[in-house]
């Protein structure tokens, strides 16, 4: 059933998301055309447009995900969603997986645009696209002094994992807040207001704990010998320089626990506490 839920969730969100990506692609292509024109002013406008479209893509992705969550569960569509032969946790899992797919796609789009933008801005500064590409190549060459490719890959995976857990937490916090706002206790008030209030409280608690966790010096570091978890020493030797080991391990463990707790709590509330108006 989870596979079917994911399939239909993808179909229902694709309509909005493809609109967003289409608008982004058109802006991206228009700005690219401007790159080949001989006007500095237009090139600057193109660069600004690219930055704006990436911001818009990220914001609209989040808004689309959250509004679909609310609409398909706690609006009229909830009459169908909550009478399907599935559990609350399955509904939540499907929505989360699809939300992560769209978030990843949006971040990949933003990543691609920013890499492109780096070259684009270089071309404005250097007056030559060829020169800009050469500068980008030189930058890549400088990575030669970094640890071996395997360690770099591990570092990238670790970074992607951190982002994944962080985005999962963002999603679960909203899902929990919206769901609690639709329980009997809070339904008599404005659900949107209550949802925002619960979300703000959750966010405050989370960031307070994450702030405290930074004081515990257990971090991830990458040096010439590869990727490692370090404790105590905040700085790491790295190719004749020092790189701070990010003390994120306790924080990420907390976020993983938070995700688990919010998933179970939201799934149970959806099954046992929610009323569809």
């Amino acid at each position: 059933m989870l596979g079917k839920l994911i399939k239909h969730e993808l179909k229902s969100t694709a309509h909005s998301m493809f609109g967003v990506y289409l608008a982004a692609a058109i802006t991206f292509l228009s700005a690219t055309v401007v790159l080949f024109l001989n006007s500095h002013a237009l090139k600057v406008v193109g660069a600004v447009a690219m930055v704006l479209i990436t911001l818009a893509v990220l914001i609209i992705t989040l808004l689309c995900i959250f509004s679909m969550f609310n609409k398909s569960l706690y609006g009229a569509q909830g009459y169908l969603s909550f009478t399907l032969p599935v559990t609350g946790k399955q509904l939540l899992a499907a929505k989360t997986i699809v939300a992560e797919i769209w978030t990843t796609l949006s971040f990949v789009f933003v990543g691609v645009v920013y890499v492109y933008l780096g070259i684009y801005i270089s071309s404005i500064v250097s007056d030559s696209t060829k020169q800009a590409l050469s500068a980008a190549y030189d930058l890549l060459q400088s990575f030669k002094s970094l640890p071996d490719a395997k360690s770099m890959l591990k570092l990238i995976i670790a970074f992607a994992f951190l982002l994944f857990i962080h985005s999962l937490c963002i999603y679960f916090r909203v899902a929990f807040s919206v769901t609690v706002a639709n329980t009997k206790t809070f339904q008599k008030y404005n659900p949107l207001l209550i949802g925002i209030l619960i979300w703000a409280v959750l966010l405050f608690i989370t960031y307070a704990i994450l702030g405290i966790s930074l004081l515990i010096p257990v971090g991830i570091a990458c040096d010439a010998s590869g990727l490692k978890i370090v404790a105590g020493d905040a700085f790491y030797a790295f190719d004749n320089s020092t790189v701070p080991a990010m003390p994120v391990v306790v924080g990420i463990v907390f976020e993983i626990l938070e995700c688990g707790m919010l998933y179970v709590a939201t799934g149970n509330i959806m099954t046992n506490r929610v009323n569809i108006k």
Binding site: S12, N272, N275, I276
Partner: protein, 235 residues
């Protein structure tokens, strides 16, 4: 074991008691009329049975289970509201039901789509309310469910549409299945009921088979008027 069983069920909205410690049970294989005026708690009772309302005291069971994936797989529920997503077309809605309900007859649904003159590829959001209601009725009645729970399917439609809806329900429910149909429009439907449950002011006012009730020659409508006139007077 009774197919539908309700034990000491109480549901309140703030200080307003909609269902007040009610209990009843129905065996399967019959058509049950859930009768009562507007605001008598019919929809709340139905929403509890199908799992859309979870904050109540007492028990509400279908096939011995509180609302869960087991009961949801065997209940075909038609709400008062239109619940299909805006982006869907008729064919998408049919595929949706076929994916989630093992008892859904997709071929029959496609045939009925043609009979009902519903354009398969028209967006649901661009359909009239009547067309949307027709589609929902089609989707529900193309399930070979053990229990059909139909909430006010005759409300807000003209007499010709009422006849069409009743005809669709009667022709398409499988033999041996149970239908619980809520309505406050008794005249059009009283002939189809095997049993009736009349609720009002939070209580079960009548629960009996039609044969018992009409043994003295009165119609369900006569009894309805008598019961609710009385119930309204004493409360």
């Amino acid at each position: 074991m009774a197919l539908i069983e309700v034990e000491h069920l109480t549901k309140t909205y703030g200080s307003h008691v909609v269902l007040d410690d009610i209990s009843f049970a129905f065996e399967g294989g019959q058509i049950i009329g859930l009768l009562g005026p507007n605001g008598s708690g019919k929809t709340s009772l139905i929403k509890i049975l199908v799992g859309l309302i979870t904050d109540y005291s007492g028990g509400a069971y279908i096939d011995g289970h509180s609302a869960d994936p087991h009961t949801k797989a065997m209940v075909a529920y038609l709400p008062e509201k239109t619940y299909l997503a805006d982006w869907m077309r008729c064919v998408d809605a049919i595929q949706y039901f076929a994916d989630f309900f093992a008892d859904f007859d997709q071929e029959k649904a496609l045939r009925m789509l043609e009979q009902f003159q519903l354009p398969p590829k028209q967006l649901i959001k661009s359909m009239s309310k009547g067309m949307q209601e027709k589609l929902q009725l089609l989707l529900v009645m193309c399930r070979n469910a053990k229990l059909y729970i139909l909430d006010e399917p005759l409300g807000g439609v003209d007499p010709a549409a009422r006849a069409f809806i009743l005809d669709t329900i009667m022709k398409n429910h499988p033999a041996g299945s149970t239908i619980m149909l809520s309505t406050h429009l008794i005249y059009d439907v009283q002939h189809i009921f095997d049993s009736v449950l009349m609720i009002g002011r939070g209580k079960v006012l009548v629960k009996a088979s039609v044969d018992e009730l009409c043994s003295d020659g009165r119609t369900i409508e006569d009894i309805f008027k008598e019961v609710y006139h009385y119930a309204w007077q004493v409360n």
